[in-house]
Amino acid sequence: MNSLYQSYIRTEALPSLFCPGCGNGIIQMAAIRAIDGLGVRENLACVSGIGCSSWIPCYLNLDVMHTIHGRALAFATGLKMAQPDKKVMVFTGDGDCLAIGGNHFLHACARNIDLTVVMVNNYIYGMTGGQKSPATPMDAVTKTSPYGATDYPIDGCQLALTMGATYVARWTTAHPVQLEKAIWEGLENKGFSYIEVLSQCPVQGGKNLYGEKEPAAILKKYREMAKEGEITLGRFAQNNQRKEYLERVEQCLATQGWEES
């Protein structure tokens, strides 16, 4: 197997539960490359929620916390506060982050706490069999929108920007080089970094959702949509003006004579 992959993966847990062609494996590789490139392996821990994307870090040979649906950001906040000098990475999905985890997402952005969040957006609830998510496009037919979705989809990047995240980017699994770079920059950013990755769930999404069934075809579609401007990709914010949460707390205590330890 790939040597870098082998050095980071708990090989005894393979084969992974990802379906053939699932985008999660591509994102996992991009994350491994970013972590390895930055050299932060010993000082990094991962936290994830529930869903297929939340299994990404479970295969990594690091300290990993696989928590409950929607609450990864809350666990990660506690972990970061207990070990402020370490890096904490969060893997979440469109349902985990925008539906049940919406409130924690808003507050983590507003707090601007130093976390690096990779939100895997496959526009569907894959793990549970293909139900609609808050990101599912209007009119899409899913298991819980058999007549076509009637909701305006929620844009996680716009939310993150509005709430004050200091690094916001969106790429797709068809852009692995840019994705790796974005994760790298997110890890380096001292503040809340939100990287949304448009991904594919060929089994549950498939033709109904992406218009294509084959993983390679979905990837091609993403590249075309990006070129046509149907989806906006790129780095939307890299803002060093807003102070990070723990920095603010430390400063606040220091000015009143208390030293943070």
């Binding site: 708990r10 005894e12 847990a13 010993e42 000082n43 821990a45 936290v47 529930i50 479970c58 040979n61 690091l62 300290d63 990993v64 916390m65 696989h66 928590t67 409950i68 609450r71 809350a74 666990f75 990660a76 906040t77 506690g78 972990l79 970061k80 506060m81 207990a82 070990q83 370490k86 409130n103 924690h104 808003l106 507050h107 707390v249 205590l253 208390w258 943070e260 330890s261």
Partner: protein
Amino acid sequence: MSNIVYNDIIHLTKESKLIELHPFEILDERKQSMDFINLAEEKEEIPRKEPVKMVLQGNEACAKGAIHAGCRFFAGYPITPSTEIIELLAKEMQQVGGAFIQMEDEIASACAIIGARWGGKKAMTATSGPGFTLMQEALGYGVVTETPIVIVNIQRGGPSTGQPTMSSQHDIYQARYGSHGDYQIIVLAPSSVQEMYDFTRKAFVLSERYRTPVILLGDEVVGHMREKIVIEDTQVDENPLKPLSAGSPTTDFFQGGNSLVEGQLHDEEGHRIGHLPQKSGEFLNKLDEKILRNIDEITHINTYFMEDAEVAIVAYGSVARPALNAIKMARGVKDDRISTKFKIVKDVITKGVPQTLQTDYSHLKVGLIKINTVWPFPEEALKRLTEKVDLILVPEMNVGKYCREIQRVVRKVKVVSMPKSGGELPSPRELLDRIISEVGVKPEVREDE
């Protein structure tokens, strides 16, 4: 090892001298002579080895207990009647080098403390009924991942918004069975400010030893009352007992352990086994046995006047206070501290103030079994303690929940439930009158009627 403390003070009779008998305090002359420390003047927590005496509110004592137990992370959300805990720790946690955060809701608070504990910092949160309900999922996660945390529930009247400022014991079953799934849990029920302090410290010790969340089940009465307490020492225990585990990873993060903390049923590596029935069953059994096998070490019960008791009151939490006063009334324990003060205004005093000079209940041989570790349910201990008793009365500020456990276990003795809803503590007279009506002896006519 027996954790049953026998507080029988049988040598006291009506003729004996005034003794300042604080509820639940073991007599110790040394404590009588110390100076008070005014909490407001204390700027810094200096770890002390000598005992200090101070006047504190129950919630404040709980917060102090947490700090002295080594808690260095608190995440919470304000809710009456637990708010004083978060407020005190907002100030003091950061002063001792810990971290404090007010999260966006109780769910996030419960999650954050689990995250912090894996980051190596002892962690606690405090809430009341509505918040406790929200925390159940995270509590289950703490149980299955074997994370040591402390959750404080200062009970108020429920259900739902219920009675925000009134006490209750409604959540006794929720503390045990609130989360979905099969699990054991340790729950402590303090009855005084001293116990709010002591039991909080104990909760941390138990949570680390058994690698489990521990619930401190207080209530509004104990949370908001002010009493004098003695703090023996403010040092964290340097030699804790070895932690027990059912097989989950135990290494904190960033120690090179590459721990995989997993909410699904898992093996020692953290890999999921939920799809394997036999392994899953074994793991669940191990989780249960971790606590049940050690029930003797965990159980903590105080008894008062049980040596020759024919009637036992089994109580927990703040209800144990009027229960003890009832015992004192019946046994003729002189309590001039109360009666001398109120001598002049005797007519104005409402029912419930113990009049200890000549009680109508002196013929009753009553004792109190005060259960401090309400869960795991101390089956064997209760059976033993009630062997020679003819009647058990179980007063509770709920519809009679814990009584069902006692009835289930104690078969040879008549167990009478005494529920009280609405938020008022039962008075000592109410308890004694009920005993008399059960026992079948009419009370003598009282002078004031």
